[in-house]
């Protein structure tokens, strides 16, 4: 029963993250909301699977899947945001540390 509750919290966090994915104004803030969907939603739901199916074959594969998502999701998000910056999308910030100095 505790596992089902944790899975439901993960599903609600996924809905909240995708609402942020709709509502945020910029690519970079949308990537922030997408991390909520990945780590807060799906990984918390897999933790619920771990609690629900304790020490079975579901436990081992879900643990491997949690470690995989935790390692690969920030790497992919960081690569896509860096590529978005390099392809010319300007972030809506005051101080931009990566901006190139003007040519003389």
């Amino acid at each position: 029963m505790i596992g089902i509750i944790i899975m439901a919290i993960g599903g609600l966090l996924a809905i909240i993250g995708s609402l942020g994915l709709i509502r945020f104004p910029d690519v970079y803030s949308r990537s922030h909301a997408q991390t909520v969907v990945n780590v807060g939603g799906v990984c918390l739901m897999l933790v619920g699977v771990l609690v629900d199916q304790f020490f079975s074959e579901f436990f081992v594969k879900s643990l491997f899947l949690i470690i995989l998502i935790f390692v690969t999701s920030p790497v992919a998000t960081h690569a896509i945001t860096k590529a978005a910056y390099l392809s010319g999308i300007k972030p809506n910030v005051i101080v931009d540390h990566w901006k190139k100095p003007p040519k003389r």
């Binding site: 439901a8 949308r30 939603g41 699977v49 199916q53 998502i69």
Partner: protein, 86 residues
């Protein structure tokens, strides 16, 4: 009991689909597809719990690895597109 959580994840996937249709630039769409694919991983895990068959979890692991590789390939493509404009 697991099907209600599938409903929650499906609503979240539909909301990500809205951003995929509306998104003005290409990285928006890539980010929305990444969120949708992780939601599909969650749905596959709940499907394996529903049928009591642990072979679906192998499919989920392979899907996670393929999503990661696809995201890295698209980010390399976007980087190359930015470099030529300078």
């Amino acid at each position: 009991m697991y099907e209600y959580i599938v409903y929650l994840l499906a609503i979240a996937a539909i909301l990500c689909m809205v951003r995929f249709i509306k998104g003005p630039t290409l990285p928006d769409r890539v980010i929305a597809i990444d969120a949708m694919s992780s939601l599909v991983i969650g749905i596959i895990v709940l499907l394996s719990l529903y049928f009591r068959n642990s072979l679906f979890l192998d499919i989920a692991i392979v899907y996670a690895i393929l999503t990661f590789i696809g995201n890295l390939a698209i980010s390399k493509y976007l980087m190359g597109k930015g470099m030529h404009e300078e």
